[in-house]
């Protein structure tokens, strides 16, 4: 059985000359769902234009919005701004039907950096990383586990993982971390 990995403590999980794997501190996350006609109003209410293309990200201040599907976005924000987001959406719900559901605790985020960060991703992710531009993200799969893969830099990635699947993926990343150092 996968060893316990304490998801309550942010910090470095594995590190080698090749790559570093770190657990990031909690943030506020929301799943926003709405049909096309409603998107303008929602953008206005949130003060950020909802990106229209799947995989694109919108940013304002510390708030990040990624488009994951034709009617689906994930909003990521500092925890102290969560209230602002819920209020803004609630205020227009009657005229602008949508679904805003908090998923802050559904997921945890792992950051992968270092000269061989991309190689580490390839031990579990079947995507062609050359097709993932810096600044964008995709929902994809890592060793059978659904994940949102963010590319923050050429060798700088984030993986959003559902909480109970995270230990499996993290353990695999740790293994790969050592393997890559040996090359």
């Amino acid at each position: 059985m996968t060893a316990h990995i304490d998801l309550s403590k942010a910090g470095i999980l594995a590190e080698s000359s090749a790559v570093r794997v770190a657990l990031l501190p909690p943030v506020a996350r929301f799943s926003l769902r709405a049909a096309t006609p409603e998107q303008k109003a929602l953008s206005k209410a949130l003060g950020i234009t909802l990106p229209a293309k799947i995989g694109q990200c919108g940013r304002k201040g510390d708030i990040e919005i990624i488009c994951l599907g034709p009617d689906e976005w994930t909003i990521i924000a500092p925890e102290d701004q969560a209230g602002m987001i819920t209020d803004a959406c609630a205020a227009i719900y009657a005229k602008t039907p949508h679904s805003l559901t908090e998923i802050s605790d559904r997921e945890v985020t792992v950051r992968i950096t270092g000269p061989k960060a991309s190689d580490l991703i390839t031990i579990g992710c079947p995507r062609d990383l050359d097709q993932l531009p810096v600044g964008e993200a995709r929902r994809t799969v890592f060793d059978g586990v659904t994940t949102v893969l963010w590319r923050d830099g050429d060798q700088d990635y984030r993986l959003d993982l559902w909480r109970s699947f995270a230990p499996h993926v993290i353990a695999l990343l740790e293994t790969g971390c050592g393997e890559l150092a040996g090359e």
């Binding site: 799947i54 995989g55 994951l68 599907g69 034709p70 097709q131 929902r139 994809t140 799969v141």
Partner: protein, 106 residues
């Protein structure tokens, strides 16, 4: 492992991100209560299981989450096209023409 073009993401991606959804264009009858047992059997169970171009559904389960339709040749497993749910059946003759052009064989 197949390569599948998701019409919503507009990317061609590995099969591992998708789940198969069975034959396409089998709509659930409007008023089920009015249907005969035969009609309900056909809806539930009868499939064309065609050997050749097959209209089928896939879901981009580990991606945008959408169900969409595809035409795949069940002999070569090659996709002729994929299209969004709700869009009409594409014309098979046209698809086969295009496919013939794309054939790598020379």
């Amino acid at each position: 492992m197949l390569l599948i073009h998701c019409p919503y993401c507009d990317e061609t991606l590995p099969e591992l991100e998708f789940t198969y959804g069975g034959e396409a264009h089998i709509a659930r009858p409007e008023n089920p209560a009015d249907k005969t047992d035969d009609e309900w059997r056909d809806f539930l169970f009868i499939r064309t299981n065609v050997k050749g171009p097959h209209f089928e559904r896939w879901r981009h389960a580990h991606g945008c989450g959408r169900f969409f339709n595809a035409v795949r040749d069940t002999v070569s497993d090659r996709f002729l096209t994929t299209y969004k749910a709700g869009e009409p059946r594409p014309d098979l003759a046209v698809l086969l023409e295009d496919a013939a052009k794309k054939e790598p064989s020379k």
